[in-house]
Symmetry: C4
């Protein structure tokens, strides 16, 4: 299995999962005399959930490339850890609908738990993928930069804890939990935009 083909397949799954998210936004069926404008405003939890999941999948795609940029070869275990990761990414649209429909209603707890559990396991798989490849330089490029390698190891560590924490918050307040998932994504975008710009890569 060449690395390039594995990347292209993974990119495809990331892109399709992100684009399928829009199908979760239900077009309102209006009652006689109902106002479409009002119905569209009432869909705000769907827009929030769409934005949260799209950003989160986008960030995970960026991270996936950070991993693959350091990889020089692949083996079957790496292949299947990656397949497990993709299975979770492709699953995200389902808990996203749950979050959109139920997080701000009476069943918010289960919805936020389902969403958060999915993201937490995904973050665990990311750590597994990276640590399997980086352990003892197993699959790294011969010229992989040790500073960047240990930087990635450090950067991935808090992911499962952050998502796991935001998930546990759902037991107290599903709304706060849902807001935290968005905050995590926005914080990541913000911090890497302001502090990571020097990593610009020439083509």
């Amino acid at each position: 299995m060449e690395k390039g083909r594995l990347e292209a397949f993974s990119d495809g799954i990331f892109a399709i999962a992100a684009t399928l998210l829009v199908l979760e936004i239900t077009v309102p069926h209006l009652e006689e005399g109902g106002s479409l404008g009002r119905a569209l405003l009432d869909l705000w939890p769907s827009y929030l959930a769409y934005g949260t999941s799209f950003l989160t999948i986008g960030i995970m795609w960026v991270n996936h490339h950070s991993v693959f940029r350091q990889i020089g070869e692949t083996d079957h275990r790496f292949l299947f850890i990656n397949l497990g990761l993709l299975m979770l990414i492709a699953f995200v649209p389902f808990p996203t609908v749950l979050l959109a429909r139920y997080a701000w209603g009476g069943n918010g707890e289960a919805a936020a738990l389902a969403y958060g559990t999915t993201l937490t396991i995904t973050a665990l798989f990311f750590n597994l993928l990276w640590r399997y490849a980086a352990w003892d330089n197993r699959l790294l490029r011969p010229d992989a930069d040790p500073v960047e390698v240990s930087g990635i190891s450090r950067a991935y560590l808090p992911g499962p804890f952050m998502y796991g924490g935001a998930t546990l918050v759902a037991l107290v307040s599903p709304e706060a939990s849902a807001a935290l998932f968005l905050a995590v994504a926005l914080f990541y975008v913000g911090s890497s935009s302001f502090f990571g710009s020097d990593e610009a890569a020439e083509t």
Copy 2:
């Protein structure tokens, strides 16, 4: 992040968003004795909305490449501006259904406003993406053609105003607004077909 990979991911989102549009066309459920032919003709707003959005996404894909052709490197901010743009492109199928179902009925105003607002924000993001990259030649190729660069800057400027204008028309006539979105797309196709043919690129 290499530019090629970013392009491939973006292309995937454009292609999927455009192809998902067909799912908005609802297959008619016929009453006893109903005519399928008649029901299919009554779906003309869906065909119009499909054509408008497909062309618009296609044109935005062409513009996305004009931007990337001038780009030599990327940074994290550029990456996330692009992700925001893709989030909007992938969202287009939703307001397209609204336009198809409601633009020519009693709730046309909200539908056309939702559609137009999406396209207007998308056009703003295109300007942001381009101006971020082109400002002070920040991310441009060293050999980027200054004439083409300033040509793109000029060409992208009217986009938000045109879409914003067509959106405001919805307050007076949703039907006219919907027609304008199609007209903008057809005008773009027509003008670049007749005046832009000399830009033919060798492989």
Copy 3:
């Protein structure tokens, strides 16, 4: 616009349109005591429609590559003719559902007409795309093989007539028309498998 990127985008649309076809096959909702096996057998028109459209899109994808193999450059008109072609390909899932649900029932005529009209217009666009590129060698590779070029011109000519003819048959018998669309696809697969094998291309 580089040719490679245009091909990749087109390939994406072909692949997605073909894969979305499966969504048209409705999972049966069983009545109390209903037999799933029987319900699945009753879905045979859906399987036929799926097979017909998948093969047809696959064949059109093969033809699309025959065109692009002879192309050396592109221009804006070619770009938009291609976009029109893709808009039709991405539309195919809709008439496919119509064919699956209605071709073998009381409303077969409109369903087969809608399906056939889509394929006929698609075939016309294929001719337009090719003839625009080949006219006076406008966009052909400098080393394009004249024998292959005139072979493609001849091969594409009958498409609109075959599909148009099969469409008109719907006025007499929608079932025969639906069978003809499948027969055309199978005939193409069969004839190029048995007579075209010498065109094997080295990598």
Copy 4:
């Protein structure tokens, strides 16, 4: 038809089919006072079916590449055998829904038979694709490794029998049949992870 383009198109269909699987998981509509958490737990057959099909499609994608790695050229018959294979892969989401909804209920037999028949025919097509290419070295690379070639021939042979056997089990117990499909996938992942790691490929 160049091999690279055929691979890219095939990869697209594999990726899209796998990602569409998530659409089969129906978001529960709760009765007044219903518990979402309970409803989500009751969906376990959907999660199982999702995991089984995602893994199976992933494994088939890995195998597809094993074939293509040995291929040096293509011909029209190979092209259409591959198209038939893709038609089956893209069909998998449909029997997956059947398995999810019906395998653990009163209509399990037909659901498991439909699922198993699809996988069995897919495995037959895989053998056909490979044996057509490998027969008398018809389409193999000139430098194809004879050991690897006969290894693939041996490895693909049991596929149809394993899937066919698991399908027949449905006549006795649909639940056991469904469990076997998952077991086959997990066994494949496990065995190639533990015994196949030395096949690591440098980039």
